[in-house]
Subunit: 225 residues, 2 copies
């Protein structure tokens, strides 16, 4: 099974610009990518990053969190390819070329764990989808040779329809961890509540000074420095 | 195992008031309660509704959707108790009185399925929690006699802490369906994407004229009548 992790290297996490600077968004996006790759490696698969631009593999550890950089993950089996086409085209090229099942896992699934990913990787349907909040597709496993993706719009429903059109059996993976992609400030709350301090993304966010604030029965994001 | 479903009968879903009238919120809240009870019955358990006010069991089917009313669920094993105390007190009274495991399932888990609930009911830890978005506790199973709830604030983290204080083993249930409680307009998008038309809540929402609108890559809520 091939595992593809698309990564938008050049416009990282624009919907977080109300709370994070460009360089912070870049650091968080890269931290999340590192965590996703690490979780995939722990399931026993060697993922391929399909990045819109070259990722400079730094040899040193991250100055903010001290974690090993993505460069060290290459030594552990991660492949990095550059493909500057839109997400849908870049993924469909890989689906067309594949000789077997292909999993596509988004790079911003900061809560993804090996267990949650294994729920997807162990499915036996022709197409298995882990939906994201708001109708997106956060991860999928395509075992049917004719399945193609369309990430524009409510892609979960589109992918269900595409599977139906090619008579592919379909399974939806029920995982809160895979449903949580980090796009908006409220998603950072999920990371603060459910993330692990052993991981890059949460330690990056904590290093930036973020914390949870609980007032009037609601949990919000707070920045203390 | 006892299964308790707390229900706020008098101030239904106030955070939906920007998109639904009082009577619509009342109808949707009741529809979601009916779906949750039905899903619990299908797991083989007979739930007890703990309602803040009397629920008039109507003998007729729902005028909007044609679904059988909650009154008919009483015939299938649902018990309804009235308890006008705050949520935390009402639940803790049941936990104190119980002789065995108690599950507490929120009444607004419109995407809950028998499979998702079984993931929780089958756990073997002293305390198992299905977190909600934003740090809440959407469902839990307490098998430790000293465990008590505190639903104020980021209750998921509080419940983890309380479990630690009594040396109870803890398990978190990873379910998107159990994580999705319907509180805000964006939650209605989840119901429209993942709900079943055989269920009360989605058919109620469709009868109100709601639909999905997909523009510029995002999925939003639209009301057509």
């Amino acid at each position: 099974m091939q595992v593809v992790v698309p990564f938008a290297a050049e416009s990282p996490k624009t919907r977080l610009e109300s709370v994070l600077s460009f360089s912070e968004r870049e650091a968080l996006a890269r931290a999340m990518l590192g965590d996703v790759l690490e979780a995939i490696l722990e399931t026993g698969h060697e993922p391929t990053v399909v990045s819109t631009a070259r990722l400079s593999p730094e040899s040193e550890s991250d100055p903010v969190t001290g974690h090993a950089d993505i460069g060290t993950l290459v030594d552990r089996g991660v492949t990095i390819e550059v493909d500057d086409r839109p997400l849908t085209d870049a993924v469909n090229t890989r689906l067309t070329a594949a000789n077997g099942p292909v999993a596509v896992v988004m790079a911003d699934l900061a809560l993804a764990t090996p267990d949650a990913l294994t729920k997807l990787f162990a499915t036996t349907a022709d197409v298995a989808i882990a939906p994201g909040l708001g109708g997106g597709t956060n991860a999928l496993l395509a075992s049917h040779p004719e399945f193609r993706v369309d990430y524009h719009g409510a892609s979960y429903l589109d992918h269900c329809r595409i599977a139906g059109e090619i008579d592919a059996s379909l399974e939806t993976v029920d995982s809160f961890r895979l449903a949580t992609d980090v796009d908006e400030p409220t998603d950072l709350v999920e990371l603060l509540v459910h993330g692990s301090e052993r991981q890059r993304a949460l330690s990056t966010l904590l290093a930036f000074g973020f914390d949870l604030e609980t007032t009037a029965g609601r949990t919000d994001l707070r920045r203390v420095k």
